[in-house]
């Protein structure tokens, strides 16, 4: 293939990536968008395969077949509730690949000549570092989300100091590597990669499960940047563009998630939010003064309402209750009740997590309201049905200045005529913050597993 043709085809692939992302801006065109991006990727792969024909082909073939098999099987099998950890794994794979490409390139150039080209030296070492951090961070995020490791923030004395030392060591090695254009002692590069992997682990450890939407977005962005930098190393526009698009998208999501929690990014990353709050609540002591209701009471309340707003949270995902929720909505709609869903931006463990779960249960996306739209509806809502959401409904965020979540935009469920909270127990939410919502006169609690409770409600509404 002539180099002009190669360049043009790469340009076509880039255009298809951008158009693909563009069509993701509406549910009705989103599948088309994803397919455009797929075609772009196919073109990019065919171009590079034709260009490198017969050179080390068995490595390429074995790698692609193996990777495609693993990737597709996992994609087909994964449960929708497990989507955040799946995305974390794919993300880690991308970051790992970027770091490995740089490592291979370094090995190749060392067999040829001594010093690296300055551009290559800079981009190689940065892509390896960021890629390795993203790889290790994603694996830890996966382990936390999969609950192989505790989702609680993990802290120890001097943690920030240790992190800072590791970070400084990494920066030092990067500078030395660039200064000597890659001609460094044999231990330096492996040492750098190990340091970066360690840093990836250390920086995700203290971050709690509720902050995962931010971390996943950030890691996504980091892998994008690593890939773009790999593009500089290989003088490949395709990698630069693809990586930059993802870097931008990840940044937008990271900022959106931080904003939705009204916390600066630095606080999410270094605050170990919720690590100590548990004890404070215990110290504040005493069970809250709450009203518990029966399934039949709630069923009647729902059945004779004219507008019900469902407020789902991570608890719905854990209990896999989305299909039951849809069944309940169907029963209510049959009786002429209008059912809407209020989705907080950080409900769940990744951006848009609740939307995907409800879409899986066939809830039409038109019924899903975002924060502002939902809050406009609450004053005219008869029943707000909170299913496994806690901190995003906490009115303390509006008016208690001392609350750790003060200032966070919340769903104003307390403005509905009645609030029913489905909860496993009175244990406080992830951030360990007491929720005064539960003591309000218009709020009642239905204790039990979310799925079991909703199933019982479906049966009770049917019998009315």
């Amino acid at each position: 293939m002539s180099s002009t043709l190669t360049t043009l085809l790469d340009l076509l692939a880039i255009a298809l990536f951008i158009l693909g992302l563009h069509f993701l801006n509406a549910p009705s065109t989103s599948r088309f968008g994803n397919r455009l991006a797929m075609v772009g990727m196919l073109i990019a792969l065919v171009v590079v395969l034709v260009g490198t024909l017969n050179v080390g082909w068995w490595v390429v073939v074995v790698g692609i077949v193996l990777g495609a098999l693993i990737g597709i099987v996992a994609a087909v099998r994964v449960k929708m509730t497990a989507m955040p950890q799946m995305v974390a794994l794919y993300n880690g794979a991308g970051g790992g690949a970027a770091a490995l490409v740089s490592t291979v390139e370094l090995a190749v150039s060392h067999t040829h000549h001594g010093e690296l080209d300055p551009l290559v030296a800079v981009s190689l070492v940065l892509s390896a570092t960021i890629g390795a951090i993203s790889f290790a961070g994603s694996i830890i995020a996966f382990l936390k989300l999969q609950e192989v490791m505790s989702g609680r923030p993990m802290t120890y004395a001097g943690q920030q100091v240790v992190n800072a030392i590791v970070a400084l060591a990494i920066v030092g090695l990067v500078v030395v590597f660039i200064w000597h254009l890659g001609v460094v002692p044999a231990w330096a590069y492996p040492g750098l990669v190990v340091g970066a992997l360690l840093f990836g682990v250390l920086f995700v450890l203290p971050i709690g499960g509720a902050d995962m939407p931010v971390v996943i977005s950030l890691l996504n962005s980091a892998t994008g940047v690593a890939v773009a930098i790999t593009g500089f190393e290989l003088s490949n526009e395709l990698l630069i563009t693809g990586g930059a698009l993802v870097g931008a998208s990840g940044t937008i999501l990271t900022v959106a998630m931080s904003k939705a929690m009204n916390r600066p990014l630095t606080n999410v990353l270094f605050g170990a939010f919720g690590a100590h709050a548990g004890q404070e609540v215990a110290a504040a002591g005493g069970p809250q003064n709450v009203r518990s209701v029966s399934v039949d009471d709630v069923a009647a309340m729902l059945a004779y309402a004219s507008k019900v707003m469902v407020v789902p949270g991570y608890g719905m995902a854990v209990a896999q209750a989305q299909h039951s929720v849809k069944a309940l909505a169907d029963q209510l709609e049959k009786r002429g009740v209008k059912v809407l869903y209020a989705i907080h931006p950080v409900a769940g463990r990744m951006p848009g997590h609740m939307n995907v779960l409800l879409a899986e249960a066939n809830v039409p996306y038109e019924a899903l309201l975002d924060l502002d739209a939902a809050n406009a509806e609450f004053p005219t809502t008869d029943v707000a049905l909170v299913i496994g959401a806690n901190d995003v409904t906490n009115p303390a965020a509006r008016n208690v200045k001392s609350s750790p979540i003060y200032g966070m935009p919340i769903l104003d469920v307390d403005k509905a005529t009645n609030v029913v909270v489905l909860k496993r127990s009175m244990r406080s939410g992830f951030a360990g913050i007491e929720n005064p919502l539960y003591e309000l006169p218009n709020c009642s609690m239905l204790f039990g597993d979310a799925k079991a409770s909703v199933d019982a409600l479906v049966a009770a509404v049917k019998e009315l």
Partner: protein, 100 residues
């Protein structure tokens, strides 16, 4: 060369911000997994690296293994990312006929 590459990089970032800031929150998870698949383009880089490796006169077996892992990781990222996005987006279809 570097100026040319930097231009591409900066323009791509602007395009990215422009295009992606219009994606509604409903689609944030598919957006994330689709962009995830797009950074799988690193697979192209991995294939280029393999070619460079085998074009070199001699190389240690351990580097070949690293290259193989790079290609595998890249492929997991691309194929898994697109497959999972496709699966999710199927659920966002408007239902033409009630399915019962």
């Amino acid at each position: 060369m570097i100026l040319h590459l930097l231009t591409v990089f900066v323009l791509a970032i602007f395009v990215g911000f422009e295009v992606i800031s219009k994606v509604p929150t409903t689609l944030h998870t598919p957006l994330m997994s689709a962009t995830n698949a797009i950074h799988g383009v690193v697979l192209v880089g991995a294939i280029v690296a393999v070619a460079a490796l085998f074009g070199a006169h001699a190389h240690a077996p351990v580097v070949t293994v690293l290259a193989l892992v790079a290609v595998t990781f890249g492929a997991i990222n691309v194929f898994g990312g697109f497959a999972v996005t496709e699966r999710m987006l199927q659920m966002f279809r408007r239902r033409e006929s009630p399915n019962k």
